[in-house]
Symmetry: C2
Subunit: 344 residues, 2 copies
């Protein structure tokens, strides 16, 4: 009895609680009107300033064999993807580093050059940050962006009869990661898809400018998780056809059907857009796809109800929910490719 009480009174460890539950409790305890989406959205005149920060840690977020340059690019891309998913234009990037004493100047510079090169592609500069001591290498990349209020799209607006659209293909980064972690090699373009992803800034701005997009998120935590969040936030059912989810040839040629399924739905780290939109969006998709050179696909539809339904050959699949968690995951010591879809 006394043991039971003392166990109950013992302060909950973060490890026992898990990342998602911790975040829920933080938002409940410290509510802010600007929180609850991919970025904080801070009103300023007719615009929202979008601000977001993504941390990476050597022990949990960096795959075997990745260069510091690639990791810098990756961290910056994941931050910019959060801005892109809200229809925003990146304005500024900062990087704060925790550096172990024996790290070389060259590695520090490579990381920052990766951040800066990625920022430049999207019209922003690496505008500074902070330098700190660290036990091991970790870093935070901060992104600042802007979007007109009338073009801001949240996670909360999906409506019945909307279609579900996505950019790019799914599963390849996750498949590539599983091979790199085993010490296997992958083709160059596949490695690039994993480590130097291209956030969909222009695609998002063009799609949203139609006025037809109702909800949006990026797929950094995996397609299924992105759909789950949209469904939960908008209080709707989202049903997709697994066959209509675009996969590239390498993925299907390299993995078993079951592995492809796992990488496509749960892999994460693609930084593609996952959006719901009024059905008339289909009239614009071809042109936007041609303008940007990016594949855009309709993969499903929104219904009244709740949850996510995956149809394969017309039959609903039973999907056990799964997502990464910084603290609970068995894979804790590996690249977890998490933490970028939500601002908390």
């Amino acid at each position: 009895m006394i043991l039971e009480m003392s166990l109950r009174c013992y302060p909950m460890r973060v490890h026992d609680l898990g990342e998602h539950e911790l975040i829920k409790r933080i938002i409940k305890r410290l509510p802010s009107p600007n929180i609850g989406d991919d970025c904080a959205a801070v009103p300023l005149g007719d615009s929202y300033l979008l601000i977001t920060v993504d941390g990476i840690h050597e022990k949990t977020d960096i795959p075997k064999g990745a260069t510091l340059y690639e990791i810098g690019w990756y961290a910056c891309a994941s931050t910019i993807s959060d801005i892109a998913s809200k229809g925003g234009k990146p304005l500024s990037i900062l990087a704060s580093l925790f550096i172990p004493e024996d790290m070389s100047e060259k590695d520090v510079m490579s990381f920052l050059k990766g951040v800066d090169d990625c920022a430049s592609v999207y019209g922003a500069f690496l505008d500074g940050g902070d330098i700190n001591y660290g036990d091991s290498f970790s870093a935070d990349v901060v992104g600042l962006g802007i979007v007109e209020k009338r073009h801001y799209v949240s996670r909360y607006g999906a409506r019945p009869d909307d279609v579900v659209i996505v950019t790019g293909t799914f599963g390849t980064p996750s498949g590539a990661l599983s091979m790199l972690q085993e010490g296997l090699s992958v083709p160059d373009y596949v490695r690039r898809k994993l480590l130097m992803p291209t956030p969909r800034v222009r695609e998002s701005i063009l799609l949203i400018s139609t006025g037809l997009v109702t909800a949006s998120i990026d797929s950094s935590d995996g397609l299924y998780e992105s759909l789950r969040i949209l469904s939960e936030c908008s209080e709707v059912n989202i049903t997709i056809d697994y066959e209509r989810v675009p996969k590239d040839e390498w993925l299907e040629a390299t993995f078993s059907e079951e592995s492809v399924f796992k990488h496509v739905l749960f892999g994460g780290g693609e930084f593609e857009l996952v959006m719901t939109a009024r059905p008339e969006i289909v009239n614009y998709i071809g042109r936007i796809s041609k303008l940007t050179g990016t594949r855009i696909s309709v993969i499903g539809k929104v219904y009244e109800g709740k949850g996510v339904k995956i149809l394969a050959k017309g039959h609903p699949l039973k999907v056990s929910e799964r997502g990464w968690d910084s603290f609970k995951s068995q894979d804790n010591r590996h690249f977890r490719r998490n933490g970028s879809s939500s601002n908390y």
Copy 2:
């Protein structure tokens, strides 16, 4: 000869280079038009968006006996101080945490409550951030602010005949830190000055609104270092009277004259404003001081030339330059109270 060559070719470790040299090299290698001051200043219409990030690490930045709540407040205050020193108004705060697995939920919440409470005082919210695994506890606090371009004051504008003005008193936080690190106790108000500082947002806005302030910085790295930076950036000589630098009674009653001198000039962590201004500013100081309840003092003057001259009883003192460095300092494993005056 071969040894010599291999030594020369061996990549420079951050530890050998030191923080200040590393930062110089980063800015040279990755230049941005928005970098080089307390915050990044990103132009937006008639305003600058001010963005800054400050990291703290359990092993180097947290004094003995400080609570997580206090550390959260401190980290947020140091970020807001960077915005304040440019005349900015805080808009949003984010906090990204690296959390060891055995940290308690309570400690995480205390830290974030400290950040949020400090943000609230200055009209901003804690608007989110990121949660990551860490070997030990570290965190980045991001600050976003805004200032009209005509009210933005950099480090680069000090001119001969300007006066040097400062807010508050100097040396007490540094004196308090040295006692806490020895396990000694200090009065409550002194502990608060160290751990829950009050960045000078309102004071800065009022002083700058006179149109007479020519250069500004906060004193987070120590008064001498702040003056040195202003002098170097503006290419002027700055001469101050040590006797005119305000010190509080506790400091002078507790320490030897020599220790007081050290804490006042090199201690840092006060988050006071150190400004240069046209001489007519003296007509406004009394009123602004009364409005804000904050002591504002003239401590010196700007001359043609270079460097910082400290006069004590009219005689120039020889000051050997000294500052904290995350990597080179002997005090590496103690609270170093650094990294907040510069965005890099």
